[in-house]
Amino acid sequence: MRHLEAFTPGEIVELGRWTFTAEAIVAFARDFDPQPFHLDEEAGKASLFGGLAASGWHVACAWMRLWIDHQNRVMAEAAARGERLPVAGPSPGFDDMRWTKPVLAGQTITYRTTFVSTRAFASRPGWGVVNSLNEGFDERGDRVFHFTGHVFMPTRG
């Protein structure tokens, strides 16, 4: 995607929006998180969430999809300019994921990523890690979701 050295701490990437329809919430929940408040409007209303609520994994997966779409756009634009960008490595994991407000049926969440820091590995020359704050906001601008992600990136050297 980019070499490790090309990530600037503080840089913000707007990833776009994702709408959680009732049908999509239920479809994801049937596959991966079939708790009543993710499957049924009435059960959702009776729960702490106050309505049919998306699984937290669904909210996280939408971030991932928008991040990959962004990455693919960046790669395609570079290819159109005749540049060849490095391919991002895998992720070793994440920290501090919080679902601070429920995402209810019909809501549209706006996602963004802020690059926080980078570190080159002494033990693995040619690779480093990019740490980012990934966030989702509802229509009122309230933050509903965030986590700190880590992705391996190749270094320039």
């Binding site: 998180d33 408040f37 729960s47 997966c61 895998p90 992720s91 994440f94 501090d96 679902w99 391996f152």
Partner: protein
Amino acid sequence: MTDIERPTGDAPMHWFEDFHVGDMIDLGCRTVSREEIVAFAAAWDPQPMHLEDAAGDASLLAGLSASGWHTGSLVMRMFCDNFLLRSSSLGSPGIDTLKWKTPVHPGDTLRVVLEVSEMRTSGSRPRLGFVRGSFLVTNQRGETVMTMESTLMMGRRGVA
């Protein structure tokens, strides 16, 4: 995906009071197929290493591999089927840390165990308690695939 079997109308079997620090809860085993790896990746994580053999072989993950988000989502499903759907679960505030340690390849069998590490009641909301736990996900070779520290909100027995 298999259909959901949930005994509706039954009282939950597992309440906050039924957890104890140090409990080890077996969340079962699950084999992951090539078809579901590719279908999940196409929907949520369309990177070549999760979609095509050649790209998987060329990646650091050495072979077509499941998206880490897929592994996490499958663990959630196993947790539901083998525990949560018979509990007083009220959701989760988040995941403190998750590590993907070993890739998941087609045909791998995941085994998940949850260890209860911490419990506390809520001062502001008497009907719920917080249970913190460590999920250990291993494969058929005994390798650690994923670890996760997460908090659950559980209803308290007899508190409306």
